[in-house]
């Protein structure tokens, strides 16, 4: 499944994931291409979040879980013993469903990722903070109030702040888990614009419940059901001429 001969950024091979005895991912094999947006769609509970969270090993912190199969980023196994999970998460950023800024100032929210990596130079930090906020299309709105608490922002602004925060550590991949489900339509449009723009520099994987959103922002779409990958193809193909009956039923709204 690589017609344009794109570079593969992420590859999951025969991925199984268990929460205790509950098998949430079943033999998922998929490739996400470099500097493309890959959307993951599927009915609630089908394992979208579980899948996307395996990519930066966020599931590691949940006790009683088990993963089988392989995930390769740039061809390297992210579960290899010499892989530092902290370093992996720096390379694979994540934006969550609900905006989750820290209870700190706008500035400190973004500087956090830099400071934990040992950056001390104030000028440099200020520079990156501005660049990240610009990158998340938030700079103009907050440049005069960088010391205000992040909670003083609107929900949509908070979500863009979280995106800026993720950008600040210069990841290669950004994972979005339903980034727009807790914000209003106008804010959603802004975040979508942003994602469109981000793919010039980053590989993006986005989970969404919103079919139009998947169609609008993504280049490739994966349809999952009950922990299995049902179909994966170019987004146009999935939305105009899906190969699988289940996919067709889902995107035409016959279930889900």
């Amino acid at each position: 499944m690589n017609p344009e001969n794109l570079q593969v950024k992420i590859k999951a091979e025969n991925l199984d994931f268990y929460y205790g005895a509950n098998r949430a991912l079943k033999n998922v094999t998929i490739e996400c291409f470099d500097k493309k947006v890959t959307a993951i769609i599927g009915p609630s509970g089908c394992g979208k979040s579980t899948f996307i969270r395996t990519l930066n090993r966020m599931n590691d912190v949940i006790p009683g879980t088990r993963l089988e199969g392989k995930i390769l980023i740039d061809g390297a196994d992210i579960h290899a013993p010499d892989v530092d999970v902290v370093d992996l998460r720096r390379r694979v950023g994540m934006v969550f469903q609900k905006p989750n800024p820290f209870p700190k100032s706008i500035f400190d929210n973004i500087a956090y990722g830099l400071r934990i990596n040992g950056m001390k130079n104030k000028r440099k930090i200020e520079e990156v903070v501005e660049r990240s906020l610009r990158g998340a299309a938030l700079w103009e709105e907050v440049k005069d109030r960088l010391n205000d608490n992040a909670f003083s922002l609107s929900g949509g602004q908070q979500q863009r702040l979280c995106i800026a925060r993720a950008l600040a550590v210069e990841p290669e991949v950004i994972l979005f888990d339903e980034p727009c489900s807790a914000i209003d339509p106008i804010a959603t449009a802004k975040v979508e614009d942003l994602i469109e723009h981000l793919k010039t520099r980053y590989t993006v994987v986005i989970v969404t419940h919103n079919m139009q959103q998947a169609a609008r922002v993504s280049d490739y779409t994966a349809f999952m059901m009950l922990g299995e990958l049902v179909e994966f193809d170019r987004t146009e193909k999935i939305f105009t001429n899906p190969a699988n009956k289940l996919t067709e039923d889902y995107i035409t709204g016959r279930f889900g």
């Binding site: 006790p63 969550f96 800024p101 820290f102 956090y112 003083s152």
Partner: protein, 297 residues
Amino acid sequence: MRKTRWTNVRESAIRAFFFTCGILTVLVLLGIFATLVATAVPAFRDITPSEFLLKTNWDPTSPEKAEYGILSMVVSTLMVTGGALLLAVPIGIGVASYLSDVAHWRVREILKPVVEILAGIPSVVVGFLGIVLFGPLIAKVFHTGHGLNAANGSVLLAIMALPTIISISEDALSAVPAAYGEASLALGASRWQTLVRVKLPAGLSGIIAATMLGMGRAIGETMTVLMATGNARSFPHGFLESVRTMTSGIAIELGEVPYYTTHYYALFAIGLVLFVMTFAVNMAADVVLRKYQEKER
């Protein structure tokens, strides 16, 4: 129509009840304060306040010249309490962090009740520990004749303040939204960085409250320090000296003092000073908390 009126009456009755409860606590507090002031003030017919607060000699029964300086006792109280906090706060925050962040849920299930049992140990028993266990230990380690000194009191008060500090800090840390931790980890922070830079600051108000409550527990504790600190009346120059705190001073002498003498009133004046000190601690905690919460908003 009728029913509404009845509901209204009931509403206001309930409101009046809760209002009374609220007022009652304030009244009790005021009552204690008033009694304390009324019984303490006569002491200052014979003692000047500056003499009382700044002199170090306390010898009300001296045949030549009775002396009423409480500075030694105040300093002793501050030393023993400060030492206790120095021990209990880091350990308490450490244990709370461990319980909320690291421990397997089964370990937590066992440890939390243990901590609560610790809180229920009577102070006499803790004081006993000081005499038979920590005292000899301190004497051995530091080569002092006996171990009944400020250090011993600090250790014991730390033990007594720990459960409060642990359980309230743990509540504060557990109340920190999981989303903060996830956000931090997802940015490539280690668990340690996440704890120190995100979770502890987010739970700070609770941790400060825990510390203040622990301090309140320590500063007013009587029996333990009475048993374990040696009760020497001299001005303390170090943690290895015997000390007499304000609480033990009152407890030792109040039973034997003739009523309505200057000595008697002076003991209440010590109580008043102690009251003001704890009050100040609580006010300070309140100010800190409020400032912090404002920043958070």
